[in-house]
Symmetry: C2
Subunit: 143 residues, 2 copies
C-alpha cells in the first residue's frame, strides 16, 4: 500500500469483478463506453516484478475481459495496454475502438480528432457489458 | 498474408529473434533506444482471435522481451501495448521509458514534450540488448 498511489487509495472505478490478485473496473472514460481496466490489488510497479504464476493469472483475466468487451461492444479494433508512467501500479487498459471515436486511428492518449459520436446503442451495450462481466469472468476463470 | 499489411510485407525492423509464431524486431524508433516489437508471423487481427496456447506462447515471448529490455536498458518505467489501429496485425510494443525521454510521462504516441536527450550510454545499452536478445530469448523459451 502506497499512500501516494491512486490505485492503492481508490478502486479506480466501479468494480465489476475481482479476486485476490486483481479487480476489473469500469472507469467511465468520457466518450469511451466499454473502456475497462484490470488493476492489481497490491502495489507492484512492473509486470515483470510479478511471479510468473501471478502474471499468467493476470493475463488470463485481461484476455477474458478483452473477450467480454469484444462480444458486447462489437468494436472496430481492440486496444490493450499497460503503461503506468503516471500511476506506476500494475494495471491494464482494455479499450474498444471505433473508426468514429474521438481519436481513431490514433491511441486514446493523443489530442482528440473529433467530438465523441452520439451512439446511444454503444452506451446500452456498455451497460449490458457491466451487467454481464461478473458472470463472464467467473466462467472464464473457473479452474 | 495480406498484401496491404505492412507487417505481412516487411519484417518491421531488424529481426533479433524469431520462432514459428512470432518475431522480435528492433524498429529503430527515433529517440527511443531499446524500443522493441514482437510481431506475429501470420496475419491475425486481434489477440483474442489467437487460440489460447498461441496467445500464451506469445505472451511468454513478450514478457521475456520485457525482462531483457529492463535488464539492459535500466529504464524508469516499462510500457507494453498492443493497439494495431493503423496496422491491424497482432504486434506488441515493448518500450523502455525514461523521465527525460521525448514524451514522459505521456505515452510515446502523443506530441513530444521535449527533444530527445543526448544519452550515448543508452544507445550503447541498446546495442548490447540487440546483441544479447537471441541468447536471452532462447534461454527464456527453452521448454
Amino acid at each position: 500500500m502506497e499512500t501516494s498511489c491512486e490505485f492503492c487509495r481508490e478502486a479506480g472505478g466501479r468494480v465489476l469483478w475481482q479476486d485476490a490478485l486483481c479487480r476489473v473496473v469500469e472507469p467511465a472514460e468520457a466518450g469511451y463506453p466499454g473502456f475497462t481496466r484490470v488493476i492489481l490489488q497490491r502495489h507492484v510497479r512492473e509486470l515483470t516484478d510479478l511471479p510468473r504464476e501471478e502474471r499468467e493469472h493476470l493475463m488470463r483475466v485481461v484476455f477474458a475481459v478483452e473477450e467480454a468487451v469484444r462480444d458486447s461492444m462489437v468494436p472496430d479494433k481492440m486496444n490493450v495496454a499497460s503503461l503506468g508512467n503516471m500511476t506506476p501500479h500494475v494495471h491494464w487498459h482494455v479499450i474498444p475502438r471505433y473508426s468514429d471515436d474521438r481519436h481513431f486511428p490514433a491511441p486514446v492518449w493523443t489530442e482528440p480528432r473529433r467530438a465523441a459520436p452520439h451512439r446511444p446503442e454503444r452506451d446500452a451495450r456498455a451497460r449490458e457489458l457491466a451487467e454481464t462481466m461478473a458472470r463472464r469472468l467467473d466462467e472464464a476463470m473457473r479452474p
